[in-house]
């Protein structure tokens, strides 16, 4: 470690008590070390002299007045508004990103996965009554596609329907047997 660094360590208070005593003794003995210390001290004092720390008092009284006005008008520091804006933006962005990368699954029941028991467990009575009250024809009068559309609440691809029509007929029959429809 060179002398300059030792002096800076001394000024910073980084020296241990022993080190400090030894260094102070060295300062007394070495003119070179002492003059370097004085040089650094001088430079530091020069920097301290740059501190004006004075300003027109009217500025400060005006600033106090402005502050009191801000308090009275409820104008809060801008950073708080920004902070909330950032949080809200992040939440919105999160939902958008989550929606893009993990879209909510369609509630439409696929024909392949259609489970009669499950469907009627989750369907409330209102829906059943609705069918009976609103459909005047006998259940048999409706095509399989129409029945499926009623259950799903949406239209079904005809091609898809024909492929599993026989399976669906079985399902409808089982529903009819249970006297639900």
């Amino acid at each position: 470690m060179n002398n300059k660094e030792r002096i800076l360590r001394y000024f910073s208070g980084l020296m241990s008590d022993d080190e400090k005593i030894k260094f102070e003794k060295e300062l007394l003995d070495s003119k070179e070390l002492n003059s370097l210390k004085e040089k650094i001290e001088y430079q530091l004092n020069e920097i301290k002299k740059l501190d004006i720390s004075e300003m027109d008092e009217t500025y400060f009284s005006q600033a106090r007045f402005n502050t009191m006005e801000r308090i009275a008008s409820g104008t809060f520091p801008k950073y708080k508004i920004r902070r909330y804006a950032i949080v809200v933006s992040l939440i919105i962005t999160f939902f958008i990103v989550a929606r893009i990368f993990n879209p909510v699954e369609s509630k439409e029941i696929s024909i392949e996965n259609f489970n009669v028991n499950e469907y009627f467990i989750t369907t409330d009575e209102y829906d059943l009554r609705d069918f009976e009250e609103n459909y005047f024809h006998q259940v048999d009068d409706y095509s399989t596609e129409e029945k499926l559309n009623y259950i799903n609440g949406s239209s079904v691809n005809n091609y898809e329907l024909f492929q599993v029509a026989s399976e669906f007929d079985d399902i409808v029959t089982s529903i009819e047997n249970k006297k639900i429809l």
Partner: protein
């Protein structure tokens, strides 16, 4: 706790708004100049000073006297200054142009030409230091605080502060030598 401070706070809490004005007048100069040296320009320092006074106004009734008012105020100023510097850094990072976000400098508030030059020089020196080193350098040399006081304000260890101060001194001395 400074007796005057306690009396003023008690008066303010009991509804005397003029007491707050006295507290503000007492600490305003130090708040401004600490912020001014940290951020390096008048506009930001002015904003910080007003924000600190608003915080004081709002939080003084809940001040529990566990530390001195002076330490508490310095803690607020120190945090606000560092927050502002960090915000400015983020702005610069996201800035589209390559130029840094313009930092307004208004030396016109200081009438004396010599003082203006001094302040410009000081800004140049202080702004060349990293924030942590700058903070401890300002508190040691201009606010004349002990390491213990700085530690209470910043919440950092005394050893860490000494190390920061050492590096600040080293950088400044190197700068002097190169000029």
């Amino acid at each position: 706790m400074d007796i005057d401070d306690k009396e003023l706070i008690d008066e303010f809490i009991s509804g005397n708004k003029a007491a707050f004005n006295k507290i503000a007048a007492k600490y305003q100069n130090r708040i401004y100049w600490h912020a001014r040296k940290m951020v390096g320009n008048h506009e930001d320092a002015d904003e910080i000073m007003q924000e600190v006074l608003i915080v004081l106004y709002k939080k003084l009734p809940t001040f529990n006297f566990s530390s001195s008012l002076f330490t508490w105020i310095y803690t607020i100023v120190s945090r606000r200054s560092i927050n502002l510097i960090n915000r400015r850094r983020i702005k610069n990072f996201f800035s589209i142009s390559n130029d840094e976000v313009e930092v307004k400098t208004n030396y016109d508030l200081i009438k004396n030409v010599e003082d203006k030059e001094k302040l410009e020089k000081l800004d140049k020196i202080l702004q060349s230091l990293p924030v942590k080193q700058r903070e401890v350098f300002i508190m040691r040399n201009f606010d004349e605080l002990s390491y213990e006081e700085i530690s209470k304000i910043t919440g950092k260890s005394i050893g860490g502060l000494k190390a920061n101060y050492f590096h600040a001194l080293k950088k400044i001395m190197e700068k002097f030598e190169n000029e």
